[in-house]
Symmetry: C2
Subunit: 351 residues, 2 copies
């Protein structure tokens, strides 16, 4: 593939160097050698890695942790905190949904330069909305006032989930060529890629108080739209035999599909082209398609990999669970990695 033009923006150029994160993380994980005895909880192996799975007594527990990242800086700039409060729940419960676990609760871990009651009240309203959408509770939390460490609000959380009755974790091992990819629309950038998005806003001196052409809400609010919660859709499909895999399209874009199974190819024949806010980003940063699809969700935030039978029944079921937008966006083929034929893109793996 030809090198992108020198004016073209990439996620790495905006300040997030994935290679260095990978090296540091490999160094950390390489040093963690201890494996506990099975009586203290038995880790369940799975290639998915959206959530850790551990067998505890008679139940399997899924656990995942994530932060809202630099989207909070836009929230702070606009003085709007409900959306990122909702994100704090959504980014975590969606990772549970991606292993087919039912969220039972969340703890929040907030590191802030100074605690403001109005900001915290707005975060609380957003958290409440996220919990409501996911059907789970707030189980505890920690608030650290650490002005010597943080300049912005670092909003982290950890969610735990379980597998009701005889439901088993959905980790992608049954995915096979011929399976369909059913996509659920995203609500925008969700909480990914904002380090790059903020550079684009600076570069274009975007007016956040006015709607973009063709839209009706101020651009700032459009950018802050909270991450859609995919728990209800996962809930109606996770326990069914035709559900072979579930993917949350978060940081890493469409490459997230490759996490499900390394022995097949995910062909995205009908994934959306960059439209709306994604088209704005692509044009504002002269971003190459390859970079767009490996950085943003480009219109689809969650994917179900299903057996090709019962297609219309599955779509009806998803519609009833709150996703009338569900539609086939691709299929599974022989090969490996992720392909976006429209742009001739081919990704070998997750990262």
């Amino acid at each position: 593939m030809a090198a992108p033009p020198p004016t073209s923006w990439t996620y790495a150029r905006s300040g997030v160097d994935r290679t260095s994160v990978r090296s540091a993380l490999a160094a950390l994980l390489g040093a963690v050698r201890y494996r506990p005895p099975p009586s203290n909880g038995r880790a369940v192996e799975g290639p998915g890695h959206y959530a850790g799975l551990v067998r505890v007594g008679r139940e399997t527990i899924a656990i995942t942790t994530d932060t809202v990242g630099t989207k909070v800086l836009l929230a702070e700039q606009l003085g709007r905190w409900e959306e990122v409060g909702e994100d704090l729940v959504a980014v975590n419960v969606n990772d549970l949904a991606a292993v087919g676990a039912r969220p039972c609760g969340l703890v929040d871990c907030l590191s802030v330069p100074s605690p403001s009651p109005p900001v915290f009240a707005a975060l609380g309203r957003g958290i409440d909305r996220g919990l409501r959408a996911a059907g789970c509770g707030l189980l505890g939390g920690e608030t650290a006032v650490v002005p010597d460490i943080v300049r912005g609000h670092d909003l982290g959380g950890t969610a735990i989930g379980f597998f009701p009755r005889d439901r088993r974790p959905v980790i992608g091992e049954r995915i096979r060529p011929g399976d369909l990819l059913i996509g659920l629309a995203s609500s925008g950038f969700h909480a990914n890629g904002f380090t790059l998005v903020r550079r684009l806003l600076e570069r274009t001196r975007a007016d956040l108080d006015r709607p973009r052409p063709g839209t009706t809400i101020p651009f700032g609010q459009e950018l802050l739209a909270p991450t859609r919660v995919y728990v209800p859709m996962s809930e109606v499909m996770a326990g069914r035999p035709e559900t072979h895999g579930l993917a949350h399209i978060s940081g890493g874009g469409v490459r997230n599909l490759a996490r499900l199974n390394p022995r097949v190819a995910f062909v995205l024949d009908d994934w959306p082209r960059p439209e709306g806010i994604f088209r704005w980003a692509m044009e504002a940063g002269e971003i190459a398609p390859e970079e767009m699809y490996q950085t943003f969700n480009v219109g689809i935030g969650f994917v179900l990999v299903v057996a090709p039978t019962h297609r219309s029944e599955i779509l009806r079921r998803l519609a009833r669970a709150g996703a009338p937008d569900a539609r086939v966006v691709g299929h599974v083929a022989r090969g490996r990695g992720v392909e976006v034929p429209t742009f001739g893109l081919s990704y070998r793996g997750y990262d």
Copy 2:
């Protein structure tokens, strides 16, 4: 009680205003009204609040989240990261130990300005030591590179635990006057009060490379000593009928005891006076005794509240579990709050 002299340091003066944290947190929690249906996990009520407890299928899961806080800034200054890696595990698993749960694993959530492989390798070695001491595994994690949000390393984690066989959560409701308080030594400040400690280091221009008088290791290393892990001691006592309460003496100092039961008084007849590193802090900051005991652990990091029978058997059992230092540090009486008779101190509650 007389007002402390104006040169006297307090935790609030160092920059941590607990009152404002309380107001902000109340605003957040006031906005979170949603309670999930029981089929999604039933929250278990308990006054302890060291960990959230949720009934999931056939098991009760304990979950707790905490960060290492500003101790990392000292670690960075000294270029030593293993100790705070160990702290990251210890501060979380000790909160599980304080409800009698057996830790089954941890996720780490690291927000860093830039990822350095040598720093992450050292953190990993420390995490490994902490996991080994607690007998639990690393279940996943998140690394966020967010130089626009953090200037230091914000090291957060979340631990989950369970109650093997017929063990029940230890939440203090059976504590009664006459019970004994058995204390386990701390290994120093653990990971609490470092915003104040760092002010004292600046004020006294302390030489971190040399041992304090009467000690043999450099002062910096003495300060960084990792938090002692109390899981093995909790494990041998949590399931026994004579164990009425367990307390992790973390931020908030001896007031942590008041979290266990609001209808009794905890009388600390034999809690240590400030010695060693605690005496250094008291003198360096001209800190009043009231402030010392409500900010630091002052020598005792974990307390078991036990029925007064079987005392010597309990001490033998704790010695075999790694705490030959266990000793009676006080008793439970009628009344409420926490008292330190040596200094005439009386705290009404946790905060």
